[in-house]
């Protein structure tokens, strides 16, 4: 498909979520923007292979994901020191407490295995269907589902397991049970 004005607009419209995806994957704002730039260049260079009427965001996400994957192997080490970079990308600084919680969440997210993290982001944040996420990641729908489930469980374990009692009356109940039952 040739690069029409409307296709160009659609690509532009996808940029914000491509950036969000890239940042969630890499944990580093500068690197994320490089990834997006590469993605756009590659997409425009290969625009002929885009099938009109098919899912443009999914196509772009696939390119970005593949670029990240090939890049990731080379730079695995550098990814770790991305601390603090993410905060720089935030326009609105949440309140102190919210910010702490936010930071904690981001750190936990980075601890997930690559496969699980991308599946969770695509389905849980980008809003892709399991089917689209599967095609972006080049795997079966069932695989995506189980990755998403494992990602959620792992996040819950990292973030909330110790504090799981904080949620309801459990803490008191446990104290009562523990106290009287011995």
């Amino acid at each position: 498909m040739p690069l029409t004005n409307s296709l160009r607009d659609d690509i532009l419209a996808a940029v914000p979520s491509l950036r969000a995806f890239a940042i969630s994957l890499s944990g580093n704002a500068d690197r994320a923007d490089d990834l997006v730039q590469e993605t756009l260049l590659r997409a425009l260079a290969n625009i002929d292979s885009f099938q009109p009427g098919s899912n443009l965001p999914a196509w772009l996400f696939t390119i970005l994901r593949n670029l990240f994957r090939s890049d990731y192997r080379k730079r695995r080490r550098e990814v770790e020191d991305a601390e603090g970079n993410y905060a720089k990308t935030l326009k609105t600084q949440p309140s102190q407490n919210a910010h702490l919680e936010f930071e904690e969440f981001r750190v936990a997210l980075e601890k997930l295995p690559q496969d699980q993290r991308e599946a969770l982001i695509l389905v849980g944040a980008s809003g892709f269907s399991y089917e689209d996420a599967a095609s972006i990641c080049g795997c079966a729908v069932g695989t995506i589902k189980s990755r998403v489930n494992r990602a959620r469980s792992k996040l819950a374990a990292l973030l909330y397991v110790d504090g799981a009692e904080d949620f309801g009356p459990d803490e008191t109940i446990r104290a009562v049970i523990g106290g009287s039952g011995g």
Binding site: N5, R8, P16, T89, L90, K91, G124, I177
Partner: protein
């Protein structure tokens, strides 16, 4: 005692993978909050310009406005 115990398990009703609905929705909420924070930043100039530049290479503006359904050669042969 039995009463308390059943209450306790009720308040945490684990769903798939041992996740309570509360925790599931909390994860979903935080994930989207983080993601949308970036989405709301819109399109940085560098990308808008990049695409604009590539739009008209050498002033050869072959992007007709009425690109409606002119897919004469659909993809590849």
């Amino acid at each position: 005692m039995k009463d308390l115990k059943s209450q306790a398990s009720k308040s945490t009703t684990p769903g798939k993978g041992g996740l309570t609905p509360e925790i599931q929705s909390r994860i979903g909420h935080q994930l989207r909050a983080m993601y949308d924070d970036v989405v709301r930043q819109g399109v940085p100039d560098r990308f808008a310009e990049l695409i604009k530049k590539l739009d008209a290479p050498g002033g050869e503006s072959q992007n007709e406005n009425g690109a409606g359904g002119s897919n004469d050669n659909n993809g590849r042969d």
